[in-house]
Amino acid sequence: MKFGIMVNEGPYQHQASDTAYQFAKAVLAKGHEVYRVFFYHDGVNNGTRLTVPPQDDRNIVTRWSELAAKHNLDLVVCVAAAQRRGLLDESEAKRHGRDANNIAAGFRISGLGQLVEAGIQADRMVVFGD
């Protein structure tokens, strides 16, 4: 079965990103597919590679990147939410004249159409947020 997952809360805020991650892992462990993880609102902050949490704490961003690499996941960050919060990839940084980008490995910036498509293509859509 195909799952779409939506994350609307940033890392280290409450628990939404952690729950979404554990849920995604459980989906994959059962042999199902994660069609896409869509990060919206403050959820886009899960995709910045500049986070440096304490060493004895979980690294929420890296954890998503590693899961994406291992299972070839599609981690999509909403472009408008990302621009508002200073999350840029190389082309977005160039387009807006910024001197750096900060998107983490495995994430890509795209639009709400990707959320709609995930809702159509996936058998189940589960939302995590605040």
Partner: protein, 99 residues
Amino acid sequence: MLHTVNKSPFERNTLKTCLAHAKPGSAVLLIEDGVYAALSGTAHSDMVTQAMAQVSVYALGPDLDARGVANRVLNGIKVVDYAGFVDLAIEHPATQSWL
């Protein structure tokens, strides 16, 4: 329909709203701070017990453990892990997250 509730009933009224909307036969999964609604002997225990006549109520075990309250769960509430969460999402045609 699977409903998930992630806020404590002592903080928000999402569980109350959820239970008012949930149709008989649907499932309610308490996650994150929502698991505080699964405890016995609280001001919200009666509401949850009454709801269980109409809907199945589940609580996420890892979130109960993280809060040290796994030994206080109301009779009738089924404790599941993340794999059980996935199973519930599959069993029910849609999931509504009460945020």
